[in-house]
Symmetry: C2
Subunit: 462 residues, 2 copies
């Protein structure tokens, strides 16, 4: 199981100004947290609760359909192209980057065991889109278009372009190269998929994009690239069981939620840094960024009062970013809580040879890169603690499907508990609607003419 | 030339609580800023000023040597492997990612005009290092190891491993596959390079890592991958000329420095977001992150008083991250200043076909992806402004060597002016020394035994 160490957030270690009296806080908040955990687990089957994602680890049916399709298309495609953005891309990216062998796309088909290379087209950048599409042999490419509503402008635009290219290259057969993940019943992509006759998977009701990684949104790309989704589910289920514990002293998601909440509201730590010490875990920070920012960044609380809530998540990568942001973390404003993610055992061990013994780097010879990255992480942790910067450490045994399932699910539960602690709705995103409407207006969608006029006058001003 | 629009940071647009009276502030700060600009340009030739980077655009000799070597090795290597971290990697990454055709490493040798693929090994992650090294044909790989001191543990460890592998594969000829960029006279890598007989380039004195992108640190990777470094220099020189203007009303680097300074110190905008609307410019945010964080994140000011200074830089990518952090930007705490980077003309135009006209996305047909990314950027800008979130827009005509030279140099000058406004040293990084010493201690370097003992006792506690 994942280990969680929060001693460096305690005032006994970093002092009263920046640290918490954790034992006392666990006492004070124990009852409140207990109720939140009970509530979460009671509400997760209620439509509209936003909590259906808590059931995803148990959805054997989805896993079965996903695996069936993955087996069917195995060896048929050289590339898997994901058309998704935000929650439809970040989970897939995070997990595939962690679990596929690094530099996956550079490996030969044999080294990939027949599984495809994977590309995420998650922007509407003309230059990179043109370049990618001219590189990919579309005949050998499976396109997974992912949007619940079919209203996501960026994704639907990309899809329209690629659908046309596919049809030109493949004729009527192009349908076999498209698989859609979308709403079960309604929406534009559901409508098109049925009309066109695509294979489809479902984004379940009541699962927001940023909590959808363990629905078909994520499971399909995982299975298509050979990731063991049953092991992912096992990780989720074991973590879910552990996080059902209503005693905050036994519940690491609740602990980290409370620590973040108190450090933010009482100690001015308005930034939550996510810093894994592993290149493979790099995009887990990107996924966490959306989860934390979109869930907790809210203007109103549940009573409708203006609160302008939300810690800002910050991505960092160890050891690399010690050479970028560590100076600021150590000496700048003490306004951050740093989450380290550590890996107990890497898949590989890499020895540093005993050469150049006559020089100042001779001491490295005979050690391993593994020791070095651990030394970097330990040193950074101790230095930040010396400087009274609160930090917590999450340790996973190794980077595999089971542990990654655990890790992401833990962060999801932590986020849900946090939303309750802040007394805000953690499952909507009203603050991006206006911007979407403006895009519709600028692109000439019917019904948005007034918005367009309003906008054009603003654009000439600002 | 680059355009800079700061109207959305003005109180006339976003109100008094979050905006500045720019006309008045330019009056008030005009003299101070004038003196800073005069000082910078006077001091840049003084050893120890930390300002030698201001001369790099004029160093014809470096450019000449770099081009000579690049011509010599052209077509000889399939891969270029950069061993660098922090300032020795981020500039190269930012510029190569912007200027090489997107998905460069996937292109054929002909599409790359004979120039090599490029890889940056900027971490000591065992799994990704093993995977990359097993993929690369080292015989066809040119390794550029970059560290001024030769004391950078991560890079020297990687170098020792790869040097041994190269020697095994190539025998004595392995030397031709290594080129070192390091101090002119001293340091471990200089010592080794001379002993081993490597081709070397120089990290000039008085140029810190984060300001080194236009020295051989960056120019060599640029030239080796076919980037026109003369055009980069032309961009720098034109921008340098423009930024010599001591009138803040005519100096965009000074304007953005002052805006950031005042928003940080007077309006509580403690986070500086860098958000280009172009996938090609994505890593410019990473480069800016180090520049801003390491330069301005300082415990002491120039008088030695404790200030805990420093805005936190935050990376975001448009339009992608509208689906990640925009909710927080719009509704969360109003604690950010957002820098948009816009591209006037992309290299490619990509039309959206007129299909599915019977559905809700029919309106997209006949438009282009280019229009869409512009609409996304405009919408986000207007929404943030509606919500009184200060934002500035930097617009470049197109993504080419000339404009990228301008853009990065502008940020460097902005950072140097900011350091003066904050009255701190923008050119050192004392806050990472302790952590480096701890790494030496943990890895058993001679002379760090006391530190090791101290550290081990702390590690068992924390």
């Amino acid at each position: 199981m994942i280990k969680f160490d929060c001693r460096n957030a305690d005032k006994a270690v970093i002092g009263d100004e920046n640290g918490l009296d954790l034992a006392a806080e666990f006492d004070i908040w124990g009852e409140k947290v207990r109720n939140i955990i009970v509530d979460l687990n009671k509400s997760k089957d209620i439509p509209g609760s936003g909590l259906q994602w808590m059931n995803l680890g148990y959805s054997q049916e989805t896993a079965w359909y996903v695996k069936e399709y993955a087996a069917l298309v195995k060896n048929r495609f050289e590339n898997l192209l994901i058309l998704g953005i935000g929650g439809s891309a970040l989970g897939g990216m995070a997990v595939c980057h962690a679990l596929l062998r690094p530099y996956w796309n550079y490996l030969s088909k044999e080294e990939r065991n027949g599984y495809p290379r994977i590309f995420f087209l998650d922007n509407v950048d003309p230059d990179s889109t043109v370049s990618l599409l001219s590189h990919l042999d579309l005949k050998k490419t499976l396109v997974n278009v992912i949007t619940k509503s079919g209203d996501t402008t960026e994704i639907m635009a990309q899809y329209m372009i690629i659908k046309n290219m596919l049809e030109k290259e493949l004729g009527d057969d192009y349908r076999k190269n498209i698989v859609a993940t979308t709403d079960m019943r309604s929406g534009i992509l559901r409508q098109i998929s049925e009309q066109e006759g695509y294979k489809t998977f479902v984004v379940p009701d009541d699962v927001g994009g940023r909590y959808s990684v363990f629905s078909a949104v994520g499971l399909l790309p995982f299975a298509l690239t050979g990731i063991d989704i049953d092991e992912v589910s096992n990780g989720i289920k074991d973590m879910d069981l552990a996080l059902k514990n209503t005693d905050i002293r036994q519940n690491i998601a609740a602990q980290n939620a409370l620590i973040h909440h108190l450090l933010d509201t009482k100690k001015g730590k308005h930034i939550s840094v996510m810093m894994p010490y592993s290149s493979r875990l790099k995009y887990i920070s990107d996924w966490y960024t959306q989860l934390w920012a979109e869930s907790l960044g809210k203007q109103y609380n549940l009573e409708g009062n203006i609160v302008f809530n939300g810690q800002t998540p910050l991505k960092a990568l160890g050891a690399t970013d010690q050479h970028s942001v560590l100076q600021l973390f150590n000496e700048g404003p003490n306004d951050k809580i740093i989450n380290f993610i550590r890996v107990k055992e890497f898949d590989n061990t890499l020895e540093i040879p005993k050469i150049f013994e006559y020089t100042g780097i001779g001491y490295l010879g005979g050690k391993s890169i593994n020791q070095l990255i651990d030394a970097e992480a330990d040193s950074t942790k101790v230095t930040l603690t010396d400087n009274k910067r609160p930090n917590v450490t999450i340790t996973i045994d190794k980077i595999d499907a089971y542990n990654i399932g655990q890790l992401l699910y833990m962060f999801e539960v932590q986020t849900a508990i946090s939303a309750s602690l802040y007394n805000i709705n953690g499952f909507n995103q009203p603050g991006v609607e206006q911007s979407k409407n403006y895009v519709y207006a600028l692109m000439g969608r019917a019904g948005y003419e007034d918005s367009a006029q309003n906008l054009h006058s603003k654009l000439s001003l600002v």
